[in-house]
């Protein structure tokens, strides 16, 4: 399969995973969305030197991944590009922030190193939390939840259309490059001289295609609003999961797990 084909099938797989009939997938999208936002805000709010506190935040993704029966390995594989980007972002910190925080003999840990690690941890945790939401909630339902939170309809519809067109666009790109490569045997990649016409073709074709798809939606009664596929309204049991986690996370924020454990072991409460 071509790389584009693989990308499309990744999106498809994730989408079908989110539609499977599992316990996590059945929780109301609004609950999951709110919990995810809450978790992200809380995680980001940790001080950049508070590694111990931040570390306890791993509890939510770790347990939720297990509960949702999602593969951590697949998640790492799918998110590798994002994670690599994040790793690059923090890499300059050690050069700017050289205040020593700790030293073990000859080895000094500077503030820069700690903040680099905490930045990386924050990014990984939040990206995984977002992945968790996407892998357990179909896009239409996330958008439905956004509407319940009074996000303007036009924005939500835009988001959905972009999501629909994304796959179309990638498919179109796949077709154009396949057609090119079939008539350019023995050539690796696309010659730069063909980039211009190919990109132009792509643009025209996908604009055209987006138009036709939109027509197809109109012909079947589309009036600017997607109907959620979600069947039931918010029940008390839907609140259990987010409220339970919210309390645990607040406790973790107030009493970091690592230092509490440390104090228990050493018996030093001061």
């Amino acid at each position: 399969m071509s790389r584009i084909g693989q990308a499309i099938s990744e999106i498809q797989t994730l989408e079908s995973v989110s539609r499977e009939d599992r316990w996590m997938n059945r929780i109301h999208p609004l609950s999951k969305l709110c919990l995810t936002v809450f978790y992200i805000v809380l995680t980001v709010s940790f001080s950049k030197y508070d590694l111990a506190g931040l570390f306890s935040m791993i509890l939510y993704p770790a347990i939720a991944f297990m509960t949702a029966d999602l593969s951590v390995r697949d998640a790492f594989r799918r998110l590798r590009a994002v994670l690599a980007l994040v790793a690059v972002m923090g890499i300059a910190n050690p050069f700017f922030d050289r205040t020593a925080i700790l030293s073990f003999g000859a080895f000094t840990v500077t503030g820069g190193i700690v903040s680099m690690i905490s930045l990386f941890m924050k990014a990984v945790f939040t990206v995984f939390a977002a992945y968790l939401l996407i892998a357990t909630t179909p896009m239409d339902d996330i958008c439905y939840a956004l509407r319940l939170l009074f996000v303007p309809r036009i924005l939500v519809t835009l988001l959905l259309l972009v999501y629909r067109y994304l796959t179309m666009l990638m498919k179109e790109a796949g077709r154009v490059t396949d057609a090119y490569l079939l008539r350019a045997p023995g050539q690796k990649g696309i010659h730069f001289r063909a980039w211009g016409p190919l990109a132009g073709q792509m643009l025209l074709r996908s604009a055209d295609f987006a138009g036709v798809l939109y027509e197809s939606m109109l012909l079947r009664g589309f009036t600017g609003e997607f109907r959620p596929t979600f069947r039931h309204s918010l029940k008390a049991s839907d609140l259990l999961w987010p409220l339970g986690w919210a309390s645990v996370l607040i406790l973790l924020k107030l009493f970091p797990l690592v230092s509490v454990l440390g104090r228990l072991v050493t018996g030093n409460w001061n």
Binding site: E15, E215, G221
Partner: protein, 248 residues
């Protein structure tokens, strides 16, 4: 007057100024009637179908669906009555799974979830693809896409179904299923195709479109047996008729 489903008078249409695709198209289609539209490549068959659902609007002339003129402000009413199966199925399907796509129209028309569920099941069974229900639309074969497209239209139970080259990607088995299915429907059908055998099997009346106008219309029996007329319009006698005549 209202038992006329489609009524087209002196229709003229051009994509680009100066080059008319349709110059003068007049015809009508009665309730429950099944009519074939034939003509060479580029004759304007797909264009005519697009005009009928208001994807394009005529430059001059009048077009009425159940007595309602096709205009910008009547489009939603018109489209509630017409189902259009695209020539290119890729343009038709846009949701992730077949099920979602078939449920798209009934959901938009505000049916209850039970009703939507029922319509999806019915439509998939009619086109005989219940096994593809959960499948991603990107992973369907060409013929499967065609059948899924048809299901997305059947689930909205329209009064008129327009089909653009419905048999192009179908294998012989599915082609005969389609014939059986279409013959069993109560709604009006308007089918654009070069597959004259298919038109012969499904339609009672035929229109020939050429150079922007309906050059000939009449019962299938009459038109599809007229070899000279067909050849003049870039078409051939249906194979089944040739064979039948040979056997005699």
């Amino acid at each position: 007057m209202n038992d006329l489903m489609i009524e087209s008078r002196d229709l003229r249409f051009a994509y680009e100024k100066g080059t008319d695709v349709l110059t003068d198209v007049s015809f009508s289609l009665a309730e429950g009637e099944k009519v074939g539209l034939i003509g060479r490549n580029g004759a304007g068959k797909s264009t005519l179908l697009k005009l009928l659902v208001g994807l394009e609007l005529p430059n001059t002339g009048t077009l009425r669906i159940r007595g309602i003129p096709v205009e910008r402000k009547t489009l939603s009413e018109i489209r509630r009555m017409i189902g259009y199966v695209f020539q290119d199925s890729d343009s038709q399907l846009f949701m992730t799974t077949v099920e979602e796509d078939v449920a798209f129209a009934p959901r938009n028309y505000g049916f209850s979830e039970e009703e939507v569920e029922k319509r999806v099941t019915d439509a998939l069974e009619k086109v005989r693809i219940p096994h593809l229900r959960k499948k991603s639309v990107y992973k369907l074969s060409g013929g499967e896409k065609k059948l899924a497209s048809l299901a997305t239209i059947l689930s909205m139970t329209p009064d008129i179904i327009l089909l653009d080259e419905p048999t192009v990607t179908l294998d012989p088995g599915n082609r005969s299923n389609l014939i059986r299915l279409l013959n069993g429907l109560d709604c009006s059908l308007f089918i654009a195709s070069h597959d004259l055998d298919f038109i012969w099997d499904t339609c009672s009346r035929v229109l020939i479109l050429s150079e922007g106008r309906i050059v000939c219309e009449g019962p299938s029996e009459e038109i599809l047996r007229n070899g000279d007329l067909l050849r003049k319009n870039g078409l051939e006698l249906p194979l089944s008729l040739i064979q039948r005549d040979r056997c005699k």
